[in-house]
Symmetry: C2
Subunit: 228 residues, 2 copies
């Protein structure tokens, strides 16, 4: 695996291939240990952490804003991941929900240590539902366990039907696939049935919920999954 970007090919730098593989194994092994520690920490406090992953612009933050406003009966908190800016944290803060923004700079994903650092700044209540909005990237975040209970991959109908086939590592990692922006279905070329079949072909266990975070269409199915 490439030492710089996590790609599966080291054909561009054969002379470094062995040291890359060794280092990558160390980095992922250390991340897995820290993710296990996060998982134990969350379990000890009854915190349910949900890792939201998607391309940029799929509507993760809009879905979170609406979810937070509609959720009743349990504390909620959010960790926002972006390369730069506090924009998403500001949007979440306006809902009244506790939030911490993590900026990764040139980085392409959140890792378990970044999440633990952020969580330590949140002082989570017992039983909190913790949403972690990963950096917008349909590739790299799939490699990094954060210690979450559930992994949600969000795609929007504007992105095209074939994404589960073209980015199978991300979809293989998902517990739930949210197909967002169904309000735009009349205006784009997207086949929901085919998309469901593509998800099933790379991950037969993943559930699929099609909804619109903007209009609220089918949000009930999302809320039901969150409490399941």
């Amino acid at each position: 695996m490439c030492a710089t970007c996590g790609c599966g090919h080291s054909n561009s730098h054969e002379s470094h291939a062995h040291e890359e593989i060794t280092l990558e194994q160390k980095v992922l092994a250390k991340n897995d240990l820290l993710a296990a520690a996060n998982r134990a920490y969350f379990a000890s406090r009854g915190v349910v952490a949900i890792n939201l992953m998607s391309s940029p612009g799929s509507g993760k933050t809009t879905l979170l804003e609406r979810t937070i406003r509609e959720l009743r009966g349990r504390p909620v908190a959010v960790v926002e991941g972006d390369q730069e800016t506090q924009l998403d944290a500001e949007r979440i803060r306006r809902t009244g929900c506790p939030v911490v923004q993590v900026n990764t700079g040139a980085g392409c994903h959140l890792d378990a240590a970044m999440l633990r650092d952020a969580v330590d700044r949140l002082a989570l209540e017992q039983g909190t539902l913790l949403f972690v909005e990963n950096v917008g990237n349909l590739v790299c975040p799939a490699l990094f366990d954060l210690g979450e209970r559930g992994r949600v991959v969000i795609i929007s109908v504007t992105e095209g039907t074939d994404k589960p086939l073209k980015y199978p590592y991300m979809f293989a990692a998902a517990d739930l696939v949210v197909v967002n922006k169904v309000d735009l279905l009349p205006y784009v070329d997207f086949d929901l049935g085919a998309c469901r079949a593509h998800v099933a072909s790379v991950n037969p266990k993943a559930e699929v919920v099609a909804l619109s975070a903007t209009t609220g269409d089918n949000l009930d199915a999302w809320h039901e999954w969150l409490v399941s």
Copy 2:
């Protein structure tokens, strides 16, 4: 920089930070050498290589299909990058254009060696316009010089106005930013003027062209940029 995914933070694995930085420098330095070789190879044959980068689903392949059908007077070829599948190469092949698909597996970007391997399978004619459709990812491909003449970043109006601020490394690397899917502007919350200002704030030299690859709206501006 993280050894596994190219992120700018090594806070999760301080014990490996030095070896990661050293290895990353080696990998990028080697890529830069290979990119320089590509650049010389392209120059010797009058080949103009254009690197197209974007999130998944921004409409890169649709723009290419239309561009190839409308271009007149010079040979065109395409290198397609995706984690998996031959889907995009099959779409390009139906236009009659020579194309090679590169599958990166778990990888998140094309590098200079992958491009050279692909180009060697294309047997480019003198003066070819070579489009390189990178892996759909608004983060990692920005780090890897391919030896291209021009870098085009494509976003669609469905992705939101704030993307240049949240993913500044990619936009800072662009010669041209294409804002695609303007046919969907009536149905989404997107401020084209603000997006142009955001691009200018991270990259004052980048041109911005707003168009629709689906309807053909403002494709002339794109064709003009290609011959400029």
